[in-house]
């Protein structure tokens, strides 16, 4: 270092910055514990989704019937409980004229409401009732031979209505609830806020701050080094969850991946900022994710325009509606903004947030000792 004989290339701040990007990427690799916990949680989610898909959880047929049927006769409490939990397929089967007449013939009408019991003495009314009550069956099995078992139904390519239903049901439960409500915020929060959070927790930030790199550059390098992790677990989680979701999942992957990717980057930039500002960023982030985002999502009014997930969800909603799926199956999305707006906001948010973070970081002092 001190001998003048060796002529060396001068130090370059850009090279240092690039090293810092790589270095902050590797820091996360070092925290093995976090990797393990992430992998286990993600694995659990994926196994669950795969398992649910295998069991036809997103199929209309496999769903519990919306209407809870109560038996007319209360003297048989044992039959009450199972009856309340019929799936749509069973419910449709139950309401078919065949089974209703068979039940009447067998004198076993316990499982029917008064208006469902066949009334052969009034043919007009009975014909109308039969027609109405057989609609579910018709809708569910229009392309499937009558009498096919519900397990087989899921394997036969269903009609357009059923595909749509399956896709929206999958979107609602897996994408909106599990992915947007758990996988995405948790992983982006953990990794993005950890970029500065772990350095500050282990009081090693001073080593970076004494290097000849501009402070705003340190902020940006930390963000870029963390982003692959957020994308790996956020967007990677999305892909894994979609691939585990069968045909509906594959359609969701094709339709929603831009929104998921934009959401991941936006969240990552936000939580990176949180990590740079707060001493305990995870707790602040959790409050944001599980209070602000969830409360705001169900509140009417314009407050939700300040929620990042709202734009990602708007984008998904518009995409689904554009493909002809029933948008009203996605909850609380009636006030969705247009795709163009959502795109703009989601693209601008990371840039604005990161620029703000760079500005803030270059002005703040970081003291490790208190």
């Amino acid at each position: 270092m001190t001998n003048g004989t060796h002529h060396s290339s001068p130090p370059s701040a850009f090279r240092a910055w690039c090293v810092l990007v790589v270095q902050s990427f590797q820091r996360h690799l070092r925290v093995r514990q976090m990797g393990w916990v992430s992998a286990v949680l993600l694995g659990l989610v994926v196994v669950w989704v795969a398992f649910a898909t295998q069991n036809g959880a997103w199929e209309l047929a496999g769903h519990r019937a919306r209407r809870i049927t109560t038996p007319i006769k209360d003297n048989q409490p044992s039959s009450a409980a199972p009856l309340a939990r019929l799936t749509n397929a069973q419910e449709a089967e139950r309401l078919r004229p065949d089974s209703r007449y068979n039940a009447l013939a067998g004198g076993n009408t316990d499982r029917f409401q008064p208006h469902e019991v066949p009334n052969p003495l009034n043919p007009t009314e009975d014909a109308l009732a039969s027609l109405v009550l057989s609609i579910p069956h018709a809708a569910m099995r229009s392309e499937v031979p009558v009498g096919t078992a519900p397990e087989v139904v899921t394997k036969v390519e269903p009609n357009r209505f059923l595909t749509s239903w399956r896709f929206m049901s999958y979107s609602r439960w897996v994408i909106f609830l599990v992915f947007m409500g758990f996988v995405l915020p948790l992983f982006t929060l953990s990794y993005a806020s950890g970029a500065f959070g772990t350095e500050r927790e282990s009081r090693s930030l001073v080593w970076l701050m004494t290097r000849p790199i501009p402070r705003s550059g340190i902020y940006l390098a930390k963000f870029l080094g963390t982003l692959p992790w957020c994308v790996a677990f956020g967007l990677g989680g999305f892909v894994a969850v979609c691939l585990a979701g069968g045909p509906a999942g594959r359609e969701a992957l094709a339709r929603f991946w831009p929104a998921a990717a934009m959401g991941t980057v936006a969240f990552a930039s936000l939580f990176h900022l949180v990590g740079a500002i707060f001493r305990r960023p995870v707790v602040v982030g959790l409050v944001y994710v599980f209070f602000y985002e969830t409360v705001v999502a169900i509140l009417p009014g314009s407050l939700k325009l300040l929620s990042l997930t709202f734009y990602a969800r708007s984008l998904m909603y518009n995409e689904a509606v554009g493909a002809g799926h029933p948008g009203e199956m996605l909850p609380a999305m009636t006030e969705a903004v247009s795709s163009a707006t959502a795109w703009w906001v989601l693209a601008a948010a990371p840039v604005v947030i990161t620029l703000f973070g760079m500005w803030l970081f270059s002005r703040s002092e970081y003291r490790d000792d208190i």
Partner: protein, 311 residues
């Protein structure tokens, strides 16, 4: 000669006998609480918890206030007329009528804040001791490792009760004041005991769980991830498993639900009135909770026996 030195130095040796290590645990708990309440974030979370409490507090009052009105009458909210019936229907899930479910629901909702508070408490109280090497400082005192853990659990227990039991008791008092207080307090005295029972269960289970996870992962981020796994993912998962397999025992995966069931058992609620239905039997919930406690204790025991806890 000794007397002379005494006057010179003005020093009197302390002649008392030290109290047992259990007192050390309470001192440890006091110190931990001070540490926790120095965090500004903690006060923010408390404010959030107060929000939930005031929600219950004033809604309970509101429902009594409008109970004298007819269902079809309407009240003006921000110049929008709202019928009394829809207000009642809106608040119906909370069951703000001073029965067992009022308090059960309150603690259930408070759970959302509690989980975050506990993640913070775990990392501040236990994680920091490991990360910053302050553990030897405690263990060099004449107390055992269990006393250390007891102290930490006590501190966490105080926080838990501040968030759940204490406000629930205030709600109980309020419920009595809003109705005929003499008969309410007499008739529903068991409810007060039930609240205390619920609080005690929460205290034991959650403080042990917090300490155990904090000892396991130490850092805030993985700790928060584990908590979210436990209190967000597992409930989702268990709800779905119940739906799919039509077996309510899958709900036992959901620790918060188990604690809710245990609490409603203490509050002596009818199992058939618990939402969402179906629910596992009370004894099953107790068993699952006890299993969690046992797992925590066994884990802590293992870690404590290994000298590793220090490093």
């Amino acid at each position: 000669m000794a007397a002379q030195t005494d006057t010179l130095l003005r020093y009197r040796p302390w002649r008392g006998t030290p109290r047992g290590p259990l007192y050390a645990s309470t001192a440890l708990a006091r110190a931990s609480l001070k540490l926790l309440f120095r965090q500004r974030l903690m006060w923010g979370l408390f404010a959030l918890a107060l929000l939930v409490f005031f929600g219950f507090f004033f809604c309970q009052y509101l429902l009594v206030l409008i109970s004298n009105l007819l269902d079809t009458e309407s009240v003006r909210f921000a110049s929008l007329p709202v019928t009394v019936r829809s207000i009642k229907r809106f608040f119906a899930p909370l069951e703000l009528d001073g029965t067992a479910h009022t308090f059960g629901n309150f603690i259930w909702y408070q759970g959302y804040v509690l989980v975050i508070v506990l993640a913070l408490a775990g990392s501040v109280l236990v994680g920091n001791d490991f990360a910053h090497g302050s553990l030897p400082f405690y263990l060099s005192k004449p107390i055992g490792r269990w006393h250390y853990l007891l102290g930490k659990c006590l501190a966490i227990g105080v926080v838990i009760n501040l968030l759940t039991t204490a406000p629930a008791m205030i709600l109980w008092v309020e419920a009595g004041v809003l109705s005929d207080w003499q008969s309410y307090y007499l008739d529903h005295f068991t409810l007060l005991l039930g609240i205390i029972g619920y609080g005690a269960t929460l205290t034991v289970v959650l403080s042990l769980l917090t300490v155990a996870t904090a000892v396991l992962v130490r850092r805030t981020v993985p700790m928060a991830m584990i908590w979210m796994g436990l209190f967000v993912l597992l409930p989702m998962l268990s709800r779905w498993l119940v739906e799919t397999f039509k077996d309510e025992r899958w709900r036992l995966f959901d620790l918060w639900n188990n604690l809710y069931l245990c609490g409603l058992f203490c509050l002596n609620a009818d199992p058939a009135t618990i939402r969402p239905q179906p629910q596992p039997a009370y004894w099953e919930a107790w068993l699952a909770t006890a299993a969690v406690v046992a797992a925590c204790v066994l884990y802590l025991r293992k870690r404590i026996q290994a000298v590793e806890i220090v490093q």
